[in-house]
């Protein structure tokens, strides 16, 4: 118990003395702010002066937009002077401070305005290409800054200029939240808009935005071929008319056009090409049998063409077939085309071989010099009775009960 009292008295003594020390250090020290300036311009040197009595070892806490510091004073007779370092006085925004006295903290703030002279215009332009027609637009965002990289004060006027075809435009916008922006709409013609801005007599460099044609409108197609025979050899070329958007701009090069071909049997083929100067071309080999094609072209999801019809006449009217003595060599030809000329090499000939009415094999060959030859191998087709069917250029010839 006595120990406890001893402790209590010791602790209270300690507390008492510390309070006394505390008091002597601070009750004598008084600080009064002498500077009354609460506004400043970035780049100007700022100092805070305090009249003081007593302790001169005080620190000043200061904080601006980017961070906080502690400052030591310069002691001058009865004044404490805190000179703000440039990192603080150069940046716009609120600088708040607090004098670190233990008794009566003094605090305040200085609003640092950006300079009124401009050093740079930062421009951000996008998107870099827009569509003709007046609804699509690009946006220019301008951040004018002073030479200490502070954004200029709000309500600074910025002139945004742009030129398109024969016209030049200029409009004034004011900065807000440190920037100014303007939407620049396209017109009905394709081309290139040149954009620049001006702020406080400082001009930006030139920016450009491409105005691309709008989406294509419906178009027409035509075909070109050197003859109308189904010879399986010549090529038919399909061609679009000049594809334009609804503002009469020729569509961009590279617009992808797909031609869909439907034949008499309903089978579909497709071929495609991209536009150059508004016209797309695509090619397809002639059929090798008589046929009729319906052709329609699409720029998928955007536009399509009319339908055209092409007829292909039969080029080969008949062909001769010769079996060898043992029937194992089948020779076709010479196959003759529309002028009785031998067909060009590469016409497909198909031989189907049946046993007891069941298809057992198909052989495919191309003609060479108007001829095609099949050899029915002994190992593959053992001795027996077979049916043989030959087909080329849409003509079918059947030979029943061939003894091999």
């Amino acid at each position: 118990m006595s120990f406890k009292n001893l402790y209590i008295s010791l602790i209270s003594l300690l507390l008492l003395t510390s309070t006394v020390v505390f008091n002597t250090r601070n009750s004598d020290s008084t600080y009064t702010l002498l500077t009354i300036k609460s506004e400043s311009i970035a780049g100007e040197s700022i100092s805070l002066k305090f009249a003081f009595t007593g302790d001169s070892e005080v620190l000043l806490y200061g904080s601006n937009s980017y961070g906080s510091i502690l400052l030591e004073p310069e002691v001058n007779d009865k004044e404490l002077i805190f000179i703000l370092p440039e990192v603080m006085s150069n940046k716009s925004g609120v600088f708040n401070w607090k004098l670190q006295t233990t008794s009566h903290p003094i605090s305040g703030h200085i609003t640092i305005q950006p300079k009124s002279e401009i050093k740079a215009i930062e421009s951000y332009l996008g998107p870099p290409s827009i569509e003709a027609g007046g609804t699509d637009y690009t946006m220019l965002v301008v951040i004018p800054t002073d030479d200490l990289d502070n954004p200029l004060a709000d309500s600074t006027s910025v002139t945004i200029k742009h030129q398109f075809l024969t016209n030049a435009y200029a409009s004034d916008v004011s900065t807000e939240h440190g920037f100014a922006f303007k939407n620049i709409n396209s017109e009905t013609k394709k081309g290139r808009i040149l954009i620049s801005s001006e702020c406080l007599d400082l001009n930006s460099k030139e920016f450009d935005v491409n105005v691309l044609p709008a989406i294509p409108t419906d178009f027409k197609i035509a075909s070109e071929r050197i003859h109308n025979y189904a010879d399986g050899n010549q090529i038919t070329t399909f061609k679009t008319s000049l594809i334009k958007d609804r503002y009469d701009n020729t569509v961009s090069d590279g617009t992808f056009v797909t031609f869909f071909i439907t034949n008499k049997a309903g089978y579909k083929s497709k071929t495609s090409g991209t536009t150059i100067n508004g016209i797309a071309r695509a090619k397809l080999l002639h059929p090798d049998f008589e046929d009729q094609w319906n052709i329609k072209a699409y720029v998928e999801g955007m536009a399509n063409s009319n339908t055209i019809v092409l007829n292909y006449k039969q080029a080969i009217s008949d062909f001769e077939v010769a079996f060898s003595e043992d029937n194992r060599t089948v020779t076709l030809g010479p196959i003759q085309s529309f002028m009785s000329q031998r067909v060009p090499d590469g016409l497909t000939v198909k031989l189907s071989i049946f046993k007891d009415g069941m298809l057992i094999h198909q052989l495919i060959k191309d003609t060479f010099n108007g001829m095609a030859e099949f050899y029915l191998d002994n190992d593959r087709y053992p001795k027996g009775v077979y049916d043989v069917e030959l087909k080329t250029a849409g003509i079918v010839k059947s030979y029943k009960s061939i003894n091999l």
């Binding site: 904080s63 502690l70 708040n96 951000y124 965002v141 951040i143 990289d149 939240h177 922006f181």
Partner: protein
């Protein structure tokens, strides 16, 4: 003689042969396993991306009414993440006076401003340890090409500790507003301009004190799982029957502990939270009120960690604040024990902030701190609704201690939220108290409580079989003492002290 030598020689040869073979096999094995490292297929694709919460200040976006391009949720989240990361790297940079990470979140010209201040601070040996606790950004503008965003971040609550030559100079809490221009560069939203437009000292709104009903209660852990009641060992049936027992003794409340790390820190384990809610449900049906002690076993306090503790508290409070059984939030158990290791001012600052935060989240429940002694109990008294402390000292001094405290705290209720006596006497403490001594202690303290009208919560219902080392360390004399604070012993037999668990005399008979 030579025969023996020969045998020795043979033996040695044999042993060295075996040894060499073993070494060769080991070497092959080592080479083989080295060549196989990194061959884990699951790692090849880097499918697992672990994101660790580092910085989670409260951020509330104002409704989107921005000029320019309409904002989408995904971009807004990207902006939010990078913007907050920008603050985080800035705090780290000022804390360490290094420039790591700044380049990712500030454009080339903007980062110069930070570098200048870092250079100045490291020259002056100043360090700033700070964090931001709240952000209220408004999106002002989003450019058509999606590369530039301007926002006004209103009322950013910043907390800073400024050091010079490693001496704490001051603590600052301020509320500032910023105009921020962000540019999308290299996939990062980087700060291009940052202008502070307003700054004022910040003090949390003073709220009306919340009153509580008289607390006559007990600290609760189930007998089998002290300090580990959540998770796999959670047993609602045991807890329910314990609550019934507590209620039958005439006690009206219990004190629970929510371990910070075990609950998942900032990312709360929903399963454990559900268990906590279940406990409150059980307490409600047993007609008991609950004092929830947050941040058990939390000991970091570092300023950059504050936002994570905030998120932890927010999740728990939002889940429990409307629960009928909830009575009091105890911010932390015995934080004054961390004063020495973590610094009084840091711990106090965290507590002060956390009181404000908890009150802002739940203004309807009382807030207290369970100080480990009466001397600390006056700290932060103006912020608390209820002053609570723990008393394990001599009973003779209790009157005086309580009266002194009462004269210092006139307008708030004072509760002793832990007291008790171990009935351990054995090998490690042959002169310890007997169970009768413990009963005498409880009898005496109850009479003091009645006399001075003191609200109380005792430690604790049960004797425990095993005490985790985090609680009192590994020393057996501490462990054993801690095991025997209960009113009911290890075998479930009520000790004599059970008669004095509350003011009212409970039945001494077993149920």
């Amino acid at each position: 003689m030579s025969k023996i030598n020969k045998n020795i020689l043979r033996g040695a040869l044999l042993v060295s042969y075996v040894l060499i073979i073993a070494l060769v096999i080991y070497a092959f094995g080592a080479i083989y396993s080295y060549l196989n490292t990194g061959a884990d297929r699951s790692k090849m694709l880097h499918t697992e991306v672990k994101q660790i919460d580092q910085y989670l200040p409260e951020i509330t976006w104002q409704p989107l009414t921005n000029e320019g391009r309409p904002m989408d949720a995904q971009t807004l989240t990207a902006i939010e993440n990078d913007y907050l990361d920008g603050w985080f790297v800035r705090h780290v940079a000022y804390k360490t006076n290094t420039t790591i990470g700044i380049g990712d979140y500030y454009t080339e010209s903007a980062r110069q401003n930070l570098f200048n201040i870092i250079a100045l601070n490291s020259e002056n040996k100043t360090t700033v340890i700070g964090t931001t606790l709240e952000h209220h950004p408004t999106l002002e503008f989003f450019s058509e090409d999606g590369q530039l965003a301007v926002l006004t971040d209103n009322d950013v609550v910043e907390y800073k500790r400024l050091f010079k030559d490693n001496q704490l100079i001051t603590e600052i809490t301020e509320k500032s507003s910023y105009k921020i221009t962000l540019l999308l560069e290299d996939g990062f939203w980087r700060v291009r301009h940052m202008v502070k437009i307003k700054s004022e000292p910040y003090t949390a709104q003073v709220t009306q004190p919340v009153s509580t009903t008289t607390i006559n209660g007990i600290n609760y852990y189930p007998q089998a799982t002290p300090w580990a009641m959540f998770g796999d060992h959670f047993d609602a049936d045991i807890i329910a029957s314990d609550f019934e027992l507590i209620q039958s003794t005439g006690l009206n409340s219990i004190r629970l502990f929510v371990p910070y790390e075990d609950f998942g820190k900032s990312d709360i384990d929903q399963n454990k939270l559900d268990q906590l809610i279940t406990i409150l449900d059980l307490a409600e049906s047993a007609n008991l009120k609950v004092m929830v002690t947050l941040f058990d076993f939390y000991g970091d306090y570092s300023v950059l960690n504050w936002t994570l503790t905030q998120r932890h508290a927010k999740t728990i409070i939002q889940a429990l604040k409307d629960h009928k059984a909830l009575a009091v939030w105890d911010i932390k158990n015995e934080p004054n024990l961390d004063f020495e290791s973590r610094g009084t001012s840091l711990v106090t600052a965290w507590l002060a902030h956390m009181i404000d935060f908890v009150k802002a989240q739940d203004p309807n429940h009382a807030v207290t701190i369970g100080w480990s002694n009466a001397e600390s109990a006056t700290l932060l008294k103006d912020k608390l609704d209820l002053v609570s402390f723990h008393y394990y000292e001599d009973l003779e001094a209790l009157d005086a201690t309580f009266e002194t405290l009462k004269s210092n705290i006139t307008d708030k209720p004072i509760v002793i939220t832990e007291y008790g006596m171990s009935s351990y006497h054995g090998f490690w403490n042959p002169f310890g108290n007997s169970e009768e001594g413990q009963a005498e202690y409880h009898k005496t303290i109850q009479s003091i409580f009645s006399e001075h009208d003191i609200q109380f919560m005792s430690w604790t219902l049960y004797d425990f079989g095993k005490i985790p080392k985090e609680v009192v360390g590994r020393l057996p004399w501490r462990q054993n003492a801690q095991k025997h604070f209960g009113f009911i012993d290890e075998n479930g037999i009520r000790k004599p002290s059970f008669l004095f668990i509350a003011n009212k005399k409970p039945s001494a008979q077993q149920h």
